[in-house]
Amino acid sequence: MTLQRRLRPYYLSLIGLVITVVFVSPYAVMLLDALRPSGDVLASPPSFLPREWQWNTFGTVLSDSRFLNWLKTSVIVAVSSTVIVLLAAIPAAYFTARFRFPGRTAFLLVVLITQMFSPTSLVVGLYREFFDLTMVNTYASIIITNAAFNLAFAIWILQGFFSSIPKDVEEAAHLDGCGRVRTLWHVMLPLTLPGLVTTVIFTFIAAWNEYVVALTLMQDDARKPLTVGINSYVTGYQQHWDELFAASLIAVVPVVILFAMIEKHLVGGLTAGSVK
């Protein structure tokens, strides 16, 4: 028994290592492909390790002004979309959690249905709409689109959170002279931190990796986000697999850092609001 108990953490660590390898290995292949000349990537027979190491790929990509433009777009778009989602979803989630009113069910139903639309099927209509508004090639067009497509999830999660906070908390704040907006800001929001963190990470990742809408709406190369821009490293005319993969790995870093920073809150947040 004691021996078994002492061995157990090692078993767990071993299984953990296997899982880590499973999830990392495709991206390890990506890293090794980034560190070899592009010709070696498609050489036959394939080799796991580069036949010739090429250490400066990451430097090349990071000093490429096109890459830096795409990176800038991705940051602007992901951050702005996330802020808009929070600003739009918090009041709506709070109000629908606290009050019954005519149209409440209809509103929640419409929100739920928007979650089921894929941007892919609406992209033609979106292009025509933004074209008529002369907003093609603007950051605003993809920021607004990303925000709208992530609203449903945000409202859904936050509503669960707000309704799990006892009403007395709010009443106490009212007695202390807080208005409704101040109560929401100073009392309710800190209590829903895990829900907010969940919303932030989901929206940020979705906006950071959005592809189809950006592909259609952003034709000006300097304004493309990373997901769209980096594909021009490998086209019919030129094949820079090394640079494509180096750029892709750099694009993963901000998300993993953001995630590592707020993971603790996230794990409490995904479902806490909806648990009965």
Partner: protein
């Protein structure tokens, strides 16, 4: 203010306390005020405007397009009535595409939930290296789907692919397999990649659900002599319902709408042999011989109705009021 402290201390309270508190807590959270529709407007206006502009308006445009006749270059020539829908329903590949969609959605979602459950269970344990593992699991979620798909087209390649090379070297297979070209391997390969990229999100949702289960409940059952399997079956699984609901509904929607993965992995293959209804709809307008914007739009409308019906049936089965009725 004491109540606030009470509520937030609930999780850390001694074993008996939450049980005693729960009825009071439950009653309180269902109290909600009544408000007029007018007073709701300032609180709801931002989502309403965003949804109307970005989802409803293009959706109406989609329906209009599905009822229109287009030239091969995409110019509208006038109304087509329901011709586009009739063309879709008479299209030779529709049955195959719908079958592919069914297989893709059911198998990917089922495997994702199953493996996600095991993964979440494991992630909730304490051991050395857990943090590193948790970060590693994030990577497929953090990486762009298009790029992950392109990466897998290389890894699974017949000639240049490292996977074939490894399997042959280890004598697991004698001959390389054309994972993305051989008709009996294309779907399984796409499903493998589909599950791989869906797992991180799913595992985290289920992990959150597991963490929300009060440990003293499981402890109490263990004291009463319940076997681990019975505890899992009768305590963990029922309490995991809300997390399973979130994970399965969102996965149904994401997997059904999955475009870049199938489009990229299936790029080499002609026709619609391995397409799902989403890539089928796209190819009808931009890639296939049809080049018909109208048919593509009609399929787009059918797609939205399909996923709507599937999710509604699913929510009805598991009683969706839990989601919308706070």
């Amino acid at each position: 203010m004491t109540d606030q402290l009470d509520a937030s201390a609930g999780a850390a309270a001694p074993p008996a306390a939450p049980v005693a508190r729960s009825p009071r807590f439950r009653r309180r959270r269902h109290e909600s005020g009544y408000a007029s529709g007018l007073s709701a407007i300032p609180w709801l206006i931002a989502p309403i405007v965003l949804i109307a502009g970005v989802v409803v308006y293009p959706a109406i445009a989609l329906v209009q397009a599905s009822l229109s006749d287009y030239s091969i270059t995409g110019l509208r020539r006038g109304s087509a009535g329901f011709d586009n829908y009739i063309d879709i329903f008479q299209h030779d590949d529709l049955g195959l595409v719908l079958w592919n969609t069914l297989v893709w959605v059911v198998v990917v979602v089922a495997l994702t939930i199953l493996f996600g459950l095991g993964l979440a269970q494991f992630m909730s344990k304490e051991f050395r290296g857990r943090t590193v593992m948790r970060w590693a699991i994030i990577i497929p979620w953090a990486a762009s789907l298009v790029i992950t798909a392109r990466l897998f087209t290389l890894i699974l390649d017949y000639e240049h692919g490292i996977l074939n090379q490894m399997l042959v070297t280890l004598h697991i297979i004698g001959e390389p397999i054309d994972f993305l070209g051989n008709d009996s391997w294309v779907m399984p390969s796409m499903i493998l990649v589909g599950v791989f990229v869906s797992l991180p999100f799913t595992a985290y949702v289920l992990l959150a659900g597991l963490n929300a289960i009060p440990q003293d409940l499981i402890e109490a059952a263990r004291m009463d002599g319940a076997s681990p399997w019975r505890i899992y079956r009768h305590i963990t699984l029922p309490l995991l319902r809300p997390a399973m609901l979130v994970a399965s509904v969102l996965n149904l929607i994401y997997v059904f709408n999955s475009f870049p993965l199938i489009y990229t992995l299936n790029d080499r293959n002609p026709g619609f042999t391995h397409d799902t209804s989403i890539t089928y709809s796209y190819k009808l307008a931009f890639k296939a011989a049809e080049r018909s914007v109208g048919m593509s739009a009609a399929m787009g409308v059918i797609n939205v109705l399909l996923i709507l019906v599937v999710v509604m049936i699913y929510l009805r089965i598991i009683r969706w009021r839990e989601v919308t009725q706070a």
